[in-house]
């Protein structure tokens, strides 16, 4: 029986920035469809460059990236990916509702469907009362909600969340966790990066550790804890990445 097409398949991905910095070093990664996959690593490990390579934001030096079997640069692949970046990057000229409507439009939605989904996203993320203000008028937490709402407009099959809970309060973090679980339960594959190790352990059914542009280990939280004979993912993180550093 043939293996099902993975949500993401990355082969030999290399990115060397002008100036010589190697951000990705022949990285190999396969994420099964339907999984909630955590990517952990220190700052500068290559997480954001990897995400950028998947989303047409970074020009890889070498290697291939496929989304559900389609090259990541194709329109079909891009139409299947939703991205909520770590930075708050919203169009400051538009109102909150317009940000969502136009984003849906960039994915080919008709006017009525884009408006309908925008209203649903506003409701889902608790932004309805702020629909007519511009993004810079929102609080930090509200802006984070908007970035998440925007990533859902095209009903992505692969949703990439780059540190979605960074800098948010406990209540919003709980809301985001519930949303992530609901999306995954409905069949959306989720790639999550986070610095909160307990978040990865609680949410993700598989975790990969990245350092210096390479995946150094991966597995379920239980498998990783057993493999390193430690009690928590935080300890796994320390052991795996420190061991890698010692080898390097």
């Amino acid at each position: 029986m043939p293996e099902p097409t993975p949500a993401l398949r990355v082969r030999g991905l290399r990115k060397i920035y002008p100036g010589g910095l190697t951000a990705l070093d022949d990285l190999e990664l396969t994420i099964p469809a339907g999984s909630l996959f955590g990517l952990l690593g220190p700052n500068g490990a290559g997480k954001t460059t990897l995400i950028g390579s998947v989303c047409n934001l970074v020009l890889p030096t070498a290697g291939t990236v496929e989304v559900f079997g389609r090259p990541a640069v194709t329109r079909e692949a891009r139409a299947m990916v939703g991205l909520a970046e770590q930075d708050i990057n919203v169009d400051r000229f538009l109102t909150v509702r317009q940000v969502l409507v136009y984003h849906g439009g960039y994915f080919g939605l008709g006017r009525r469907e884009a408006a309908r989904r925008a209203d649903e996203a506003l409701e889902l993320l608790g932004l309805s009362a702020k629909a007519r203000v511009t993004a810079p008028e929102l609080s930090g937490g509200m802006q984070r909600r908007l970035v998440l709402a925007r990533a859902l407009l095209n009903r992505p099959r692969l949703l990439i969340l780059d540190e979605p809970t960074a800098g948010v309060d406990v209540d919003l973090r709980g809301e985001i966790w519930r949303l992530v679980r609901a999306l995954n339960a409905a069949g959306t594959t989720i790639l999550l990066t986070t610095h909160y190790l307990e978040e990865a352990e609680s949410l993700c059914d598989e975790i990969a550790l990245i350092r210096s542009g390479r995946i150094v280990d991966r597995g379920t939280a239980v498998t990783l804890r057993e493999r390193y004979e430690v009690a928590s993912i935080a300890d796994v993180y320390q052991r795996a990445l420190n061991a890698e550093e010692a080898v390097a």
């Binding site: 920035y17 079909e76 000229f93 095209n154």
Partner: protein
């Protein structure tokens, strides 16, 4: 939690759009400058109209006509060209540079929009802005100076070239600028001097020899000449030469911007 957004879309073998993403981006670009209409539309129209009023009507009483037309009518074509070039430059730079700086360009790059659709939307939005500003300036300048259109088809060909040059220049500047300092320095160190030395206010034969040559090396000069031939029927250079330079610039800048966007130069990391 319920709703259609919680469920992933069905896989498709070929991307199909209910409404073209290009149209959405074009609409967004136009909406952007209409939202800031005081700066984007009224400002350039007012400053150009003031030139027409001060130089074209007040000073023209003390200046003899040039080439058989009043001084006001003589300067209007060049002022319109300059206004179009200015709004084209600032449209591309403010839209694209700020989209890069604030990183909301990522939403566009990560969407199914193709590079040439992104470029096309930016350029067409700037062209529309140029048409709106030029129309508003002429609505005031024509009754004040009596300038007419001597060669309509020539003017149409010249106008398209000038609009494309302006839009592409702005987009290229927006793509390569790495700071706001770059954006404003190009305006004050390149656009402004080239505009003043572009033959807007004087015929080239009134300049000393060296300055004449300098003017002929100035691309703005040829764009102004093309506009002037369209409005007045004649200028300092043959019509075919002005049109050839204007279209050469339009095509050259279009090729340059296409190269930048196709490679993702400065747009992608």
């Amino acid at each position: 939690m319920t709703g259609v957004l919680l469920e992933p879309a069905e896989p498709v073998s070929t991307f199909r759009a209910e409404r073209a993403p290009f149209r959405w981006l074009l609409e967004r670009e136009v909406l952007r400058y209409l939202r800031i209409w005081r700066y984007s539309m009224v400002g350039p129209v007012l400053s150009t109209v003031l030139f027409v009023v001060v130089f074209g009507t007040v000073l023209s009483r003390h200046v003899d006509g040039i080439g058989g037309v009043g001084y006001g009518a003589f300067i209007v074509p060049g002022l319109v060209v300059q206004a179009v070039l200015n709004v084209g430059y600032f449209n591309g730079t403010t839209s694209l540079y700020e989209a890069r700086r604030d990183r909301y360009l990522h939403c566009v790059l990560a969407s199914p929009l193709r590079w040439w659709e992104i470029l096309g939307a930016l350029v067409l939005a700037a062209v529309i802005r140029g048409v709106l500003v030029a129309t508003a300036v002429l609505a005031v300048a024509v009754p004040l100076t009596g300038v007419g259109v001597a060669r309509p088809w020539f003017l149409a060909a010249a106008a398209v070239a000038v609009l494309v040059v302006a839009a592409q220049f702005g987009v290229i500047a927006g793509a390569v600028a790495s700071s706001l300092d770059h954006v404003y320095s190009v305006e004050s160190l390149v656009l402004l001097p080239l505009g003043f030395l572009g033959g807007i206010f004087y015929p080239i034969d009134q300049l000393p020899g060296g300055w004449q040559l300098l003017s002929e090396l100035n691309p703005f000069f040829w764009l102004v000449q093309a506009g002037r031939i369209g409005f007045l029927g004649h200028a300092d250079v043959p019509g075919w030469a002005a049109l050839a330079v204007a279209w050469g610039l339009a095509l050259g800048l279009s090729a340059w911007s296409a190269g930048l966007f196709a490679r993702g130069h400065r747009l992608k990391d």
